[in-house]
Amino acid sequence: MANLVYLLALSFFLASSVSGAEQKIVEHNMLMDHGDGHLMDMEGGMVMGQNKDKLPGGCDKISEDAQITVKAGHKYARKFPGTMFAFDQQEWRVKPCTRLTVHFINEDNVRHQWMMHGLPKYIYDKGMFHLEVTGPAKISGTLILPKEDKTYLVHCDIAQHMEKGMKGQLIVGNGSGTFPSIPGLTDLAIPDDYGQAQPAATAPVDTQPADSFLTGSLIIGLVLGIFGAPFVIRIARERFKGMTFNDFLAYVSGLFTELVNAIMKFFTWLYQLVTSRNRYLPKK
């Protein structure tokens, strides 16, 4: 008997996992109302801050009824390098006093949220409107937006989901600025360091601290300078004895030309060394 139930349980599990693979979106529309705009079911679906009829201060009437559909999941991060989760849109605009219904479709197999902050607390508990569901599933909720021009933060508050891309903003009227780090819209407030171009990144960094002027090598140089200078001068005098200034210039420029030639030769040799490999490769 026990085994039979076990097998039944397993087959149920298999059935449910197969349907999960097909990405069938489950509708969470049998929510239980717990008051204060808090609705919930036993499969992890949740709406907080639902408000279909309480007008915020300054709104004489509902200006319009609007609906948006928001999709969420890993696949929407594809457009934004450096993210892992995202909404399919990052910005929504509505008129003041709009009654907005949000249809939130989570296409991942984990929880995601469409959480809005900064609403007036006399209507919305903790100033929040919040949709949460474990995908693949859909959940819907309604709220009435206040009269003031304001930009509201919208995000998924699961640890690191906002940071890794699941972030947007809802602009009422003309809004009140923007939030940072919204994929495709605004820059990260604290940008990541991707380093230099490749060769520079591998170059050794001189980490020697700036030390005092008098180092050992400077002192050696000083000694060489003081005691070596007389010899250098003597040798130079012997070498250039009797030369005019023009002769001296000619001699120096001759030396310089030789040096340039030598360098050119070295680079030609290097180039050939690198390119010569082609000669040994079979031609296609």
């Binding site: 026990a2 139930v5 076990y6 349980a9 397993l10 599990f13 298999l14 996992s17 999960g20 717990h34 919930m40 079911d41 036993m42 992890g44 949740m46 890993h74 390098p81 450096g82 993210t83 892992m84 989760f85 991942d108 197999n109 984990v110 929880r111 902050h117 903790k126 100033g127 929040m128 949460e132 474990t134 508050d157 699961i158 640890a159 690191q160 989901h161 940071e163 890794k164 780090s181 990260l188 407030a189 604290i190 940008p191 990541d192 360091d193 001189d206 700036a210 002027f213 008098l214 090598s217 400077l218 002192i219 050696i220 140089g221 000083l222 000694v223 060489l224 300078g225 200078a229 007389p230």
Partner: protein, 571 residues
């Protein structure tokens, strides 16, 4: 020899002379370092009734006399399942409504046998691209916030305690929760990977089939069993453990970093008994407030002790960038665990003094207490109990022949090993030396420090009830513990003994010298040259210049004389 001592004598005499007569070099006086802000011993804000022994949703919950006790609503949900409790109790927790379901009494013995456990993967003390701090925060000691990854029971709503706060909600913490099931239960462990990296679960020591009935891998090992669980995906592991014991579970993706990062917890299979509702989760480990029927047959209390060690360099990586690709590169290709050293040591996710807020073992005389210990360190653990010799009853979950069981005071565990201890508080000079506040700690010396600052690490106490206040504060008789509750202490800024010996601070910190010896004067001129060859060349040029000056010294003298007279004339 004599000659030598003469030299020393004259040398020191001349030194004395050179110091001058009036100027004795007195060492600086002690400068008192202010303590600054210290947290109170207990600031958990837990309602006092949470500590009391009580019955909630028909679940008997034992007293927990510590500063930061588990929420009784959580315990009720963990025992009955989120599907068998009232909405009010569920609302008093932070659990998702489908976090834990218990159904189906298959053998008809009065307890559910089909258990569905849902786990999520959470990052705590993680990076934010929006502000310089970390989120959601979990301090292992004052101001110490290494980044962690943990399995958590499936939660709902915000990951912080409120929108204005960055503090993690209490279910998001180190260590990953202890999971308890009953022998013979059909258990589905559903891992919903909410994290941005691949993860898995390997059930170390727990009886599980290699493949499940659906032909999917069940061992959590990517290389042999089943592809890792990708971000946003979920996977169900199906088990029906036939043997009881203290076991282990951990992520098996890049396990050399994922286990130390925190993806590891205790997994306990309780012996099958009638009407045995076990406490499926023990979040934060520590006291089991609803022990199983089999445990209660022999013991009055039960504690889970999970030891972990932390290399601060590893745990900083996730805080150093936002882009998952950069973090992956830093962890998988750059971090080298063979060059690593551990810096922090935690018991049930905290270091001393925070261990005293939640990991006291509160006992009374003549009790038998079951301790289940997991060594989650990267190295050996040598647990020592002051004032007690406990008996080793089970190794890696297997009972030792009772007549061959060993009673001792240092218990040795290799990494990943588990040990069950029977702590007997009978004051017989062997099992216990009597009532008191007795430390227990890993006796590997570095493990009672926090990044080398003592006393920290995984120290906690076996505290006899008469030595513990109602709110869980131990009535200690030694030094003031306040410095341990400051960030300054762990930043190494407080001299440990400064107020102890006397009121003038003979073991304090010497005041900093008032005059600054030069050294800064020279620095400015040497900007141009870099490297020692540059210096050599500069020196050479200076030397040449000096030589020419010397050669033409007469002319220079004349020029300078002329300049001086001109200047005078102008004046």
């Amino acid at each position: 020899m004599q000659k030598h001592s003469l030299v020393v004598f004259f040398g020191s005499a001349s030194l004395l002379l050179s110091a001058g007569v009036g100027a004795i070099n007195t060492p600086p006086a002690s400068a008192k370092v202010e303590l600054g802000e210290a947290e109170p011993f207990c600031n958990s804000g837990a309602p006092p009734e949470w500590r009391k022994s009580q019955v909630l949703e028909g679940v008997a919950i034992q007293e927990s006399r510590v500063c930061d006790p588990d929420n009784p609503a959580d315990i009720a949900a963990f025992v009955k399942g989120t599907n068998n409790i009232s909405m009010q109790t569920l609302m008093d927790t932070k659990l998702a409504s489908d976090a834990l379901s218990k159904t189906n009494d298959m053998d008809g013995d009065g307890d559910p046998d089909h258990i569905i456990i849902k786990l999520e993967v959470m990052e705590i003390n993680g990076h934010s691209p929006d502000f310089p701090g970390v989120v959601p925060t979990f301090d292992i000691a004052p101001g110490v916030q290494p980044g962690f990854w943990v399995f958590t029971p499936k939660t709902r709503d915000m990951s912080t305690t409120s929108f204005a706060s960055a503090v993690a909600n209490p279910l998001l913490r180190l260590p990953a929760p202890v999971i308890r099931v009953e022998q013979g239960d059909v258990v589905w462990i559903v891992v919903e990977n909410t994290h941005y990296f691949p993860h898995s679960i390997h059930l170390h020591g727990v009886d599980h089939p290699f493949m499940d009935h659906g032909g999917e891998g069940n061992d959590g090992v990517g290389q042999t069993s089943q592809m890792d669980i990708m971000p946003g995906q979920s996977k169900t592991y199906v088990i029906r453990p036939r043997q009881p014991g203290t076991m282990y579970y951990h992520c098996h993706v890049q396990p050399h970093t994922h286990i130390p990062m925190g993806l590891a917890g205790m997994f306990i299979v309780e012996e099958n008994r009638p009407n045995n509702w076990v406490q499926t989760f023990n979040v934060g480990a520590g006291q089991v407030r609803h022990p199983s029927v089999a445990v209660k047959e022999k013991y009055s209390q039960e504690y889970d002790l999970h030891y972990q060690s932390i290399d601060k360099e590893l745990h900083k990586l996730i805080q150093s960038a936002n882009d998952p690709r950069l973090i992956a590169k830093a962890m998988n290709q750059e971090y080298d665990i063979t060059d690593a050293k551990d810096d922090y040591f935690v018991l049930n996710g905290r270091s001393f003094p925070y261990t005293l807020r939640e990991s006291l073992i509160v006992v009374e005389p003549n009790e038998k207490v079951k301790l289940r210990i997991l060594n989650g360190h990267t190295e050996n653990l040598a647990l020592h109990t002051h004032g007690h010799k406990a008996t080793e009853t089970h190794y890696d979950g297997i009972e030792q022949n009772p007549s061959a069981q060993i009673t001792r005071d240092v218990y040795s565990l290799a990494p990943a090993q588990r040990l069950d201890l029977e702590l007997n508080t009978a004051n017989d000079g062997l099992h216990s030396y009597g009532a008191g506040l007795w430390m227990f700690h890993d006796h590997v010396e570095k493990a009672f420090t926090t990044d080398g600052m003592g006393e920290g690490g995984s120290i906690s106490l076996i505290a006899y009830k008469e030595y513990v206040e109602e709110n869980g504060t131990p009535k200690s008789h030694g030094m003031d513990l306040k410095p341990y509750f400051t960030k300054k202490y762990w930043e190494r800024k407080l001299p440990v003994w400064q107020d102890w010996a006397d009121d003038w601070g003979s073991l304090g910190q010497p005041a900093a010298p008032t005059t600054n010896p030069s050294a800064s004067g020279n620095a400015g001129s040497a900007q141009a040259s870099s490297g020692s060859w540059g210096k050599l060349f500069t020196g050479f040029l200076l030397g040449m210049a000096g030589y020419f000056l010397y050669l033409n010294r007469e002319r220079m003298k004349a020029i300078s004389g002329q300049l001086a007279s001109q200047w005078k004339a102008r004046k």
